[in-house]
Symmetry: C2
């Protein structure tokens, strides 16, 4: 494995070979990790998703190579900055015949640090339903691959006063945001869209689920159709990811949504650090 570490003050300096398969075909994966005062948050879960994705794609990646490389990069970071973002970008490296990968790929791991984007208001955000349909190949479902053009296209349509675009799956159901997983309240219970059908399995949804389980509160899986959001059984919608934690959607396509019961519980579970190795 070739590891390239890009420090925050030199973002333009490092280059990746133009023959890299990550660039050529999106043949790779990435993770975006929140760093608080030099400490990576939910590091084990991020590394696990990257390892699972690499196994699915057949990119050789060993945990005992990955974790130390990330830890070494974190050690170089400024421990006095509250919020930074560590990005891990893994590619299958160069080589192969066209789409066909080489028999023994030499992957590249690019570790870079950027300032954290401004946090959205805790009171909630507005969202729209994207007109870009989400297509999820069952062979690639859940992994955070570099094939993210649908999310890019959906992002382009987010109005200035909105934070997120929700993308609909093949049933017309609200599957996930461009960069967030969903939790919603229906008939007094917590639900999330089926995790074997999302494009990217959310680490923050799984983190909150473990927290809910400790409090004896189940998280169910089910489809959410847009029209359900205006029915009396609907009790609110949350966006989750590693950088923002959990925030409620105040309005969807310009129509107000209820704020969920137990909102404070979810927000606090999302903030709860998890022990990492």
């Amino acid at each position: 494995m070739i590891t390239i570490v890009v420090p925050e003050h030199q973002p333009g300096e490092a280059g990746v070979a133009v023959s890299d398969r990550g660039l050529a075909y999106g043949d790779g994966l990435f993770e975006t990790i929140l760093i608080r005062c030099g400490q990576p948050q939910l590091l084990q879960a991020h590394c696990q998703r990257l390892l699972e994705g690499a196994a699915r794609l057949g990119i050789p990646l060993r945990e005992d190579e990955l974790t130390p490389a990330v830890r070494r990069a974190c050690a170089l970071m400024d421990a006095t900055t509250d919020r930074q973002v560590l990005k891990l970008l893994l590619t299958r490296g160069s080589g192969g015949r066209g789409y066909r990968p080489p028999a023994e790929p030499e992957p590249r791991l690019i570790i870079s640090v950027t300032p954290a984007p401004p946090a959205p208001p805790e009171s909630g955000v507005k969202a729209i339903i994207s007109e870009i349909p989400l297509t999820v190949n069952p062979m690639l479902a859940g992994i955070k691959s570099l094939n993210r053009l649908e999310q890019v296209m959906a992002s382009r349509s987010i109005p200035e006063d909105c934070y997120e675009a929700l993308m609909c799956g093949d049933q017309g159901d609200l599957r996930e945001g461009t960069r967030t997983g969903l939790l919603f309240r229906w008939q007094g219970q917590w639900w999330t869209p089926p995790r074997d059908r999302v494009a990217v399995r959310s680490i923050m949804v799984a983190h909150v689920e473990r927290g809910l389980a400790r409090e004896g509160i189940p998280l169910r899986e089910g489809l959410l159709y847009p029209e359900q959001c205006w029915q009396p059984e609907f009790g609110g919608l949350l966006l989750l990811n590693s950088l923002i934690g959990a925030i409620p959607v105040q309005a969807l396509n310009g129509r107000e949504l209820p704020l969920p019961e137990q909102l404070a519980t979810i927000v606090s579970l999302a903030k709860q650090p998890e022990e990492f190795r």
Copy 2:
């Protein structure tokens, strides 16, 4: 537009910024052009597909920038080599907030030259039907984007004695090869899968179609289900792309296929150069 030209003898020298959105999200497009003795083949059609794709993705690209840049790169090439490959890789460049592109992207165009892969035998090749389903987002259908992980995954399963894996669309129909478009013969007519539903619209299929039209032979659009390949109305299957022209599939999943009538016509139309600007 930033243009990077990578000469054939220096493939490892050039680098792309790690912040490039082509690498990060597959936010870009590419074209693979056959060069014969320094002359690009079907250049106008390739540039047109790239321009159409760029317009679809909202990447600013002007024809009067693109064509001269490609011509200048071709002028540097060795005019004595019969077959080389010119690759155009266009990305949205760097910048933006996560998936969301910058308002005024500065695209990168990477032009590189590689030796042509060995040509498959004109007598035909073996193919398999891939188990990786093809998912085609209607918003991205037909453009040759950098999101090609499905094709990479399907390529991994091609046995050594096979040339191509055919991918099935959402109806279970044979839509296209990983790197080839399809022509097939059914009830004594030429057909191709519906071009608004393929992942990559084939320039060679369109080239052959124009040639057929000049001879008064129509090309129809229709679905091809695998089981049709063993019915008496079926008259053979061809793989097409810019590098190989047109070649017949001799056997699919180990079962022999008929060689099509008018095979020589199609092969010869595929080889016919087209005037370029």
